[in-house]
């Protein structure tokens, strides 16, 4: 069964540092997403990406965040200057189409801890 792979599974970073979270979506998928979940809170949409550009983003996804697909296989989320409140579980997901016949395929997540 194809999987969405996220690395690392856990990252600890100093406040103010840049962090890059990596995801390898399923190879024939065209739509990519990042979500996050602050401990004890709901899973929140950050951004969707299609055809090498952002197709939708939430108000959480401010100038401190960026995404790219640098090499056709990886899909990365960069946080330029991390804040304590960026501590959360970050989930990558991909889908073949923009319809929901099968839903998204999610990765296992990266737990980001900002200290």
């Amino acid at each position: 069964e194809p999987e969405v792979t996220q690395t690392p599974s856990h990252q600890v970073t100093q406040m103010g540092q840049e962090v890059i979270l990596r995801c390898v979506p399923i190879s024939n998928h065209l739509y990519f997403y990042w979500y996050r979940q602050i401990l004890g809170q709901k899973v929140e949409f950050l951004v969707s990406f299609y055809n090498n550009e952002i197709s939708e983003k939430s108000e959480i996804f401010d100038d401190q965040f960026s995404v790219e697909r640098p090499d056709g296989s990886n899909f990365t989320l960069k946080i330029r200057s991390t804040k304590l409140e960026d501590s959360a579980m970050y989930f990558c997901a991909s889908s073949e189409f923009n319809t929901d016949l099968y839903g998204y395929t999610f990765g296992s997540g990266t737990r980001l801890t900002v200290v």
């Binding site: 709901k42 899973v43 949409f45 839903g103 999610f106």
Partner: protein, 116 residues
């Protein structure tokens, strides 16, 4: 803006018994999709079941079924013959059918414990 509410942070069920997880949502749209996702500990979320709002018939996938009440904006998940492997966090999610939007709106989740 749409919202999704799961009012049960945690539920327990005896193995082989039936449990129902609640989900309500708020929207002004008439067409949309609803989902239940399961997240086992330290594992990725996987799709359990989906429902299109225009379909009156409740979706069923093996031991999993939903009770979709569109007027009440309720979308509960029933798990029959519960198994130890059903223990997980369950998330209810909403997605608009409007073109140009792909995001899910999730509830806060319900942790299901299955007791042997």
């Amino acid at each position: 803006a749409q919202t999704v509410t799961q009012s049960q942070p945690e539920m327990s069920v005896q193995e082989a018994e039936t449990v129902t997880l609640s989900c309500t949502y708020d929207t002004s749209e008439s067409d949309y999709y609803l989902f239940w996702y399961k997240q086992p500990p330290s594992r990725q979320m996987i799709l359990v079941i989906r429902q299109e709002a225009y379909k009156q018939q409740n979706a069923t996938e093996n031991r999993f079924s939903v009770n979709f009440q569109k007027a009440a904006k309720s979308f509960s998940l029933k798990i029959s013959d519960s198994q130890l492997g059903d223990a997980a966090m369950y998330f209810c999610a909403y997605r608009s059918s409007s073109s140009g939007t792909y995001k899910y709106i999730f509830g806060t989740g319900t942790r299901l414990k299955v007791l042997a």
